[in-house]
Symmetry: C2
Subunit: 402 residues, 2 copies
């Protein structure tokens, strides 16, 4: 399995485009299109928030038959809590049909941005000719067009071998704020030229997100628009995966690999973040307990602030373990902080141990920090992804709409 360039355009038969059509006041790109030359098996996972973006309703309807060919996405407006939201989302699909050979019922639609502000089709319609004209090896343009407060493009692609054929999988994502996925993260679009049935594609996706995107939290706010979809157009010509077995595992491993990579990119680029935090929990009684603890630690506002300040305030880790809801013998807990600058153990058997504050400061001053929790109470483990809480998070979200 090797990383390659090209993002969603790396697999055979996928084209992408991204433009500025004027939904945003600035001239930042705000409209993206991804098209597969062949009809592709499609699978999606969506937010569990009861308040759901209208595009999710339309996407669920359009991929109910297990297939799709195109993805249209705008940023700058979430098309959520709008009276005519469904109409607008369906209108976006019809615009794709009008300007390409894709049937509107084969279009996946997504939106991200402010909630509850009317979205007009006008700028999108005006932008369609140049959006379609731009279709090509332009994954970066599409990745740019779906960004909101993201500061970095999130794009990844892998090449691997499946049943003797060379297969590729690529993805773009947006994250930043309102990120505490309870199904998938804000927006993730994956393309692959693997041949796989819609049922097995959905299974691979559902399995994969549990340990990847669903283990991220930027701010514990589960968005209304979380959507992750995968399109598999079969152009790699591997023997189509229609059941579990070796090929399915290979495909799922590739999907998991790019999902983990994107999860870390999303966490590291959390709104205002200066550091990626990973909490690795081992020795738990059950996988569920390990996950609860890892997420509880990564979500602690107090710990996030301490990490911003490079302060080895491990009591906050213990505190978050204690209220996680997991069954744990606190007298067996050990905690250490790790980074490229080294490792410092701060807690053993639930109590403090002497450590060098100087060394701890050095370890915690790096850009990627692992908070390692060992429970000594079983075999299960889990990892959660988050970021520090900074002045800039407050600044960005104190006046997001203007």
């Amino acid at each position: 399995m090797i990383y390659i360039d090209g993002g969603v355009c790396a697999p055979k038969g996928f084209l992408a485009s991204g433009i500025s059509c004027g939904i945003r006041k600035s001239n930042k790109k705000d409209l993206a299109l991804i098209v597969s030359q062949k009809k592709a098996a499609a699978a999606g996972v969506y937010t569990k928030n009861l308040v759901k973006g209208a595009p999710i309703i339309v996407t669920q309807k359009n991929i109910a038959d297990g297939y799709a060919r195109a993805i249209i996405v705008n940023s700058g407006n979430a098309n959520t809590c709008n009276a005519n939201g469904i109409e607008i989302a369906e209108g976006m699909c019809r615009l794709v049909e009008s300007f390409t050979d894709v049937n509107s019922s084969d279009v996946i639609v997504a939106s991200t941005g402010v909630i509850g502000q009317k979205l007009s089709l006008e700028p999108i319609e005006r932008g369609m000719p140049s959006l379609v004209e731009g279709l090509g090896d332009n994954s970066i343009d599409a990745a740019t067009a779906i960004m909101t407060t993201d500061t970095a493009i999130k794009e990844v692609a892998l090449e691997f071998c499946l049943g003797g054929k060379q297969v590729r999988i690529g993805a773009i994502a947006k994250g930043s704020g309102m990120i505490h996925p309870d199904m998938a993260t804000m927006l993730v679009f994956v393309t692959t030229d693997a041949a796989i049935s819609p049922e097995m594609l959905q299974k691979a996706l559902t399995d994969t997100i549990q340990d990847t995107f669903n283990m991220i939290s930027i701010d514990r706010d589960t968005s209304t628009n979380d959507t992750m979809v995968v399109l598999a157009n079969g152009m790699a010509e591997n023997a189509c995966i229609v059941s579990e077995g070796e090929d399915f595992e290979v495909f799922k491993a590739a999907l998991t690999e790019i999902s983990l990579k994107l999860s870390r990119l999303v966490a590291k680029d959390g709104e205002g973040a200066t550091k990626l935090l990973e909490c690795t929990v081992s020795g738990a009684k059950s996988k569920e307990d390990a996950k609860k603890i890892a997420k509880s630690v990564i979500c602690s506002t107090l710990l996030k602030c301490a990490m911003f300040g490079s302060d080895a305030n491990w009591g906050r880790v213990l505190c978050a373990i204690g209220y996680s809801g997991a069954q744990v013998d606190v007298n067996k807990v050990a905690v250490s902080f790790k980074s490229e600058a080294g490792e410092v153990s701060v807690c053993s058997n639930g109590g403090g141990i002497d450590f060098s504050e100087e060394k701890a400061k050095e370890v915690l001053s790096c850009g990627e920090i692992i908070i390692d929790v060992s429970l000594g109470d079983g075999e299960a483990c889990a990892t959660a992804f988050g970021c520090d809480l900074t002045y800039d998070y407050v600044k960005i979200n104190g006046d997001y709409r203007s």
Copy 2:
């Protein structure tokens, strides 16, 4: 029921004191003592965090018989996750016995501050003579000595009539950070001269906290040391409350009133906070749903930032309602923001309505803001208390230990 001065010393027979004994590096007061002249019925509620401060273990043991006479509290060190924590907490009780006529098994002990740092009895022992000498009408000194990052003293007292007798109830509290009580808030000490049995006192306390302290959240971090205790010494000479009935309801109403008052004070003085946020939810299918929604809204990091920036970003309210876990028909939801500057409706039937941004800014620029959520789906209601998320929260917690 009228508010009076005097805090925990307002009821008959209670004396208090607060000094600086040197646990903290600064000369801020850090040791408090409250003593009842008569043995008092005692009730307590404590954190549900599995990581519990050692003082909680000792307090639970000492009031197991339903009675106590004194409360000793230090700030600057939480005496939690310390190998000899129990020994130190018991040592604090013994010091009270050595310097007063109170038996050590009648002492309630509490600590607040950094977790996992050794606490020495030495400064406490050195401070005991002046602490005991200071006992008097000094509720403010005690309230000051239990503060950590609190910026305001939290003290309150009420006078009311019970079975023909004038009865008083007083309390002090500390809040600020690591505040998401799951039993009681960080530290609340209540005194009353009412005569009430330990069983009925515990029942009144357990009932009261559900709608008061347990509805506060500053940062979703449930502390390891949350403790609320009530001492009732009976010196008002009312007929002792030994069962439910009119007198019990009157007493509980008084306890609820001061708990609500303190809850608002604790929320308003959350770490770094500039504004008190109250989320009032009505029209819910069940009380439990109403509480879930109110707490979810008040806990949303994104909404807290928007309130700091006086930004009427109501989509974040809808988002938090949607992921609250409560059953709700989002198409019936209405939201308005209220303050002393007026009221502005921003959402009706789950969708946006036109409103004056200027007026909204004015409403949200006040120090106390009500986020009013109407569900139109039932009769149940609830209120939660929180505060905005500011640069100062990040600053305070980025380097708390130094």
